[in-house]
C-alpha cells in the first residue's frame, strides 16, 4: 500500500499527495490526517493535490469532510494545487468543495496561516520583512 507522508512544520501539517487515490486510500488518508492533528496539536493542514490527475466526487467529498472534521478539532485545512482542468471538472460535476479554503500555491497557504496566527496572538507580531508595515493587508 502506498503511503502518503504527513510532514510537520511547527503547528502546520503538510500533506502532499503524490499518488492517485482510490477510495479506500482516500478514507485512510483522512483518518491519518485527523490523527496527526490530534497528536501534534496542529492548527493548520495544507493538502497539496498538484500531482492528482483527477478529483472525482469521492475525493472531493473526502477533502470537504476532512476540512469540516479538522475545523471541529480547531484546525483549518487549506487545499493547494487545484489546476484549471480540475476546477472546471469539479464545478461541472456539481462539487464546489464549499467551505474548503484554497490557495494557489504553498507560499500563499503559509501566508494565510501566518496571518491567522498573528491575529490569534494579540501580541505584537514581528515580521522579518521590513516593508510589511506598509504592505500588510488591513484585513
Amino acid at each position: 500500500m502506498a503511503k502518503i507522508p504527513i510532514l510537520k512544520l511547527g503547528s502546520t501539517l503538510l500533506v502532499s499527495i503524490q499518488t492517485e487515490l482510490h477510495d479506500r486510500l482516500a478514507s485512510e488518508l483522512q483518518e491519518e490526517i485527523l490523527a496527526s492533528i490530534e497528536k501534534n496539536k496542529s492548527k493548520a493542514v495544507i493538502i497539496d493535490i498538484t500531482a492528482l490527475e483527477i478529483v472525482d466526487s469521492f475525493i472531493g467529498r473526502m477533502l470537504t469532510n476532512t476540512a469540516e472534521m479538522a475545523a471541529l478539532m480547531d484546525a483549518e485545512v487549506i487545499l493547494v494545487g487545484i489546476s484549471p482542468a480540475v476546477a472546471i471538472t469539479l464545478v461541472e460535476l456539481g462539487m464546489e468543495l464549499k467551505g474548503v479554503k484554497t490557495a494557489l500555491d504553498l507560499e500563499s497557504a503559509l501566508e494565510i496561516i501566518n496571518d491567522n496566527l498573528s491575529e490569534e496572538n494579540d501580541a505584537d507580531f514581528f515580521s522579518s520583512d521590513p516593508k510589511s508595515d506598509d504592505e500588510r493587508d488591513e484585513n
Binding site: 492517485e20 482510490h22 477510495d23 479506500r24 486510500l25 490527475e53 483527477i54 478529483v55 472525482d56 466526487s57 469521492f58 472531493g60 467529498r61 489546476s83 484549471p84 482542468a85 480540475v86 472546471i88 471538472t89 461541472e92 460535476l93 456539481g94 462539487m95
Partner: protein, 130 residues
C-alpha cells in the same frame, strides 16, 4: 476496443489510467482529458457500489467524427427509477448523488439502459472538437 474488468478498488485506478492515456492519445485537451477520466472514475465506482462487479468497454471512435466512447456494463440489481437516479443529489448508497447527473454534464452523449433486476448499461461519448 479495450475491455477492463471492474472488480475492486484497484479497478478504479486501472480504468482511470487506461482511459486517461487513450484520451491523451486521441488528442483531447487537458480539460477534456480530466472530464473523461473523472467520468470513468464515477461510473466505475457506481458499478463497485451497486453491482459489486462489471466491466467497461473503451472505444476509440475514428470515423467521420473522432471521439472516445465508454460502455459500463454490470449485471447488478439495476436501476429502479432512472429519472430519479439522474437527479442531482439523489443517492441510495450514501454517496453524493453526483455520479450519474455529473457524468452526463461532463460528456457530450449519455445513455442509460437498465431495469430492476436486469443490470445496467451506461454509454458515454466525448467528441473531439475540431
Amino acid at each position: 476496443m479495450q475491455k477492463i474488468e471492474i472488480t475492486d478498488q484497484d479497478s478504479l485506478l486501472k480504468v482511470r489510467q487506461i482511459v486517461h492515456s487513450l484520451a491523451r492519445e486521441i488528442g483531447f485537451g487537458l480539460v477534456d482529458q480530466t472530464r473523461i477520466t473523472t467520468v470513468a472514475s464515477e461510473l466505475t465506482r457506481n458499478i463497485l457500489l451497486y453491482a459489486k462487479k462489471g466491466h467497461v468497454e473503451i472505444y476509440n471512435i475514428n470515423g467521420s467524427r473522432i471521439g472516445l466512447k465508454m460502455i459500463f456494463i454490470d449485471e447488478g440489481p439495476g436501476i429502479d427509477n432512472i429519472e430519479l437516479a439522474m437527479k442531482d443529489g439523489y443517492t441510495t448508497s450514501g454517496g453524493m448523488g453526483k455520479g450519474l447527473p455529473g457524468s452526463k454534464r461532463l460528456m457530450d452523449e449519455f445513455y442509460i439502459e437498465s431495469a430492476p433486476g436486469k443490470g445496467a448499461k451506461v454509454t458515454v461519448i466525448k467528441w473531439l472538437k475540431g
